[in-house]
């Protein structure tokens, strides 16, 4: 190829043509320079789009920053006001209920279907794609519109519900039913964790099940003694990721409630309230305090998952 040709031309110009192996130290500077050159875009992005904004956000959370009005340092006022803010408390309640109830249901569905699909029958790939598809579009505005139409007054869910003796009126306008509706939307997207579970299930050596068969273990026992422990790293991964994701629902709640989080704050997800405060009312300092609180909570939850993982996550080799 032309590569070798050009390379030889280059080596004629530059002195260190074929440096022996022990000639490494002098190249180190060049390596460092190359490293930073390649890393430059990421580094620039990291400083200006992540690290810098995080520090700025921390600073803003101690101010009453507003794009138009005068603003200044107010200490911990934002944080103390948050806990006296009934709408904030509602948003915390909605979001944590959604995360605590929705995530396990979603993961259970994902694991159940993954186990159903984990065999050598034909069509497995097709089924896998079919079940995965909702994960790709579930957070989109289009699906939020469909969901709203399906669960609205006189929508199909309302009609079917009435057939089974539920009260008419639809789920969208009923504060008790909006959260189940949102959780159903989340569970509908079980495909992404399912695909990851399926990849994990394929890693479990079949000999383990054969040995269990010889020992006369039943299916339940095999599930709790083999499948679940062997799958625990994957389960751990899915649990961390899905929990963090569940704190960040935005588009569907925004569209279904028309940006308001109603009825009776029942779809006022944390990020929706953050948006309302920060970008709707311009109280960016207050919103920054909310954002930092979210980071702290997500950090603590991740930390708890990681700290407790050694009690229930088995990595390869340990399981014997």
């Amino acid at each position: 190829m032309s590569l070798t040709h050009e390379a030889s031309r280059e080596s004629a110009n530059s002195t260190p043509a074929r440096r022996p192996r022990n000639g490494r130290p002098p190249r180190r500077g060049a390596e460092t320079r190359a490293g930073y050159a390649f890393l430059a875009p990421w580094l620039l992005g990291f400083i200006t789009l992540t690290a810098g904004p995080m520090i700025a956000s921390l600073y803003l959370s101690f101010t009453n920053f507003h794009p138009i009005r005068d603003w200044g340092w107010i200490g911990f006022d934002n944080f103390t006001r948050l806990f006296d803010d009934p709408r904030f408390m509602d948003s915390v309640q909605v979001t944590s209920l959604y995360a605590v109830v929705g995530t396990p249901i979603k993961l259970a569905a994902a694991l159940a279907v993954a186990m159903l699909l984990n065999n050598r029958r034909r069509g497995q790939g097709t089924y896998r794609s079919l079940f995965y598809a909702p994960s790709l579009i579930g957070a989109s505005v289009s699906i939020a519109i469909i969901w709203k139409a399906m669960f609205n007054d006189q929508g199909i869910v309302d009609e079917i519900g009435q057939f089974f003796g539920m009260k008419p009126g639809g789920w969208v306008g009923n504060p008790d039913m909006t959260l189940p509706m949102m959780i159903l939307l989340a569970v509908w997207q079980f495909g992404a964790p399912m695909v990851i579970f399926l990849a994990g299930l394929k890693q479990i050596p079949n000999e383990l099940y054969e040995a269990a068969d010889v020992d006369g273990a039943g299916p339940l026992r095999k599930f709790f003694r083999i499948t679940l422990p062997m799958l625990s790293p994957v389960l751990f991964f899915n649990l961390v990721l899905e929990t963090i994701n569940s704190f960040q629902v935005f588009a569907s709640a925004f569209i279904i409630s028309g940006g308001k989080g109603g009825p009776a704050n029942s779809t006022l997800f944390y990020t929706l309230y953050l948006y309302q405060r920060g970008f709707g009312q311009g109280q960016l300092g207050y919103a920054a305090a909310m954002a930092w609180l979210l980071v702290i909570v997500v950090g603590i939850i991740t930390l708890i998952f990681f700290k407790t993982s050694k009690y229930w996550v088995h990595y390869g080799g340990e399981t014997r």
């Binding site: 789009l49 794009p67 790709l136 139409a149 199909i156 960040q248 588009a251 954002a291 930092w292």
Partner: protein
């Protein structure tokens, strides 16, 4: 494994000819029975899976078929087959909203999505090369920071970013929406590419180094061509994520003629009354169509990408 049974029977005392015949008949019957059970199991498997598949697909199919229904027949209609079909909904959806046609929104979405793909492929592969192939002090630290941003909620940076872009006069432009893509801010893709590059044999770049090629050449002539599969996966996800993105355009864009499709849909669902579900459905179908087509074309890449890297949908 399956032939353990015959050897076991072979070890039992040699049976008399009639008994052997009897046994082989029994064995055949047992095998047939097992086959039948296997058959019913397969049927059961496909039955259950299909039933589940129908439930999963129902919202999508319902949306698609509703978009061809007259508006007054959408709500309260449980069945799938429309009694009357019409294209009126699509005509209204194509007209767009507020004097901006559907195709303007569509091409805005396209510009953003293609821009994201280009930015992600270039910037993330360069950063991944530094992490995977260049040894320099601080690399481990930077890699750790990059991984840290994977789990960071986006919301903590969006407020200062908004203030910063506002000061720079970049709001109501696509710069805030694309700059992160060109600065490798999407750590998922960097991580995905680092993982891929670690699987590329080092002999390839070492032999190129002996020939005198620098990192720039190795990256461009050796690594990038080898990275085609991972670039495909990253492109697909970058495209779809950008296509579906709602929060960032909502914050940064003011003029309706710059809106991408999700913002058009939001206007549709806000402004048109309940009675115009038809146009909403048609617009939703049109907005999803490219993603669905993408998915059908590249499902293997997409699903395998999720399976190997844990990328989210």
């Amino acid at each position: 494994m399956s032939n353990t049974t015959p050897t076991l029977t072979g070890e039992t005392p040699p049976p008399a000819p009639p008994a052997a015949e009897d046994r082989s008949v029994q064995a055949r019957a047992a095998r047939r029975k097992a086959k039948v059970r296997g058959g019913t199991r397969t049927v059961l498997f496909h039955g259950v899976t299909w039933a589940l598949g129908i439930v999963m697909l129902y919202p999508g199919v319902w949306m698609l078929l509703s978009s061809f229904r007259p508006t007054n027949q959408i709500i309260g209609e449980v069945g799938l087959i429309p009694r009357e079909t019409t294209l009126d909904n699509f005509t209204r959806a194509f007209e767009g909203i507020g004097g901006v046609s559907f195709w303007t929104f569509f091409s805005n979405s396209m510009i953003l999505a293609v821009g994201s793909v280009v930015g992600v492929c270039l910037s993330c592969s360069v950063a991944a090369y530094a992490f995977a192939r260049i040894e320099f002090p601080g690399r481990k630290l930077y890699f750790g920071l990059m991984i840290g941003t994977l789990l960071l909620p986006f919301h903590v940076v969006i407020i200062p970013q908004f203030i910063m872009f506002n000061e720079l006069g970049w709001t109501d432009s696509y710069i805030p929406l694309l700059i992160g893509k060109f600065l490798a801010a999407e750590a998922f893709f960097v991580f995905l590419m680092v993982q891929f590059m670690r699987g590329v044999p080092r002999e390839l770049d070492e032999s190129a180094r002996i020939d005198g090629a620098g990192h720039g050449r190795i990256y461009w002539f050796i690594m990038l061509p080898l990275m085609r599969p991972v670039l495909a996966t990253a492109s697909i996800f970058a495209f779809i994520w950008s296509w579906n993105d709602f929060l960032a355009p909502l914050i940064y864009l003011r003029s309706p003629d710059k809106y991408p499709l999700p913002l058009m849909l939001r206007q549709f669902s806000d402004q048109t009354s309940i009675s115009d579900y038809g146009a909403q459905m048609a617009a939703a179908v049109l907005a999803l169509a490219p993603v669905i087509i993408f998915f059908m074309l590249f499902q293997r890449y997409i699903v395998d990408g999720v399976a190997t890297s844990g990328l989210k949908g």
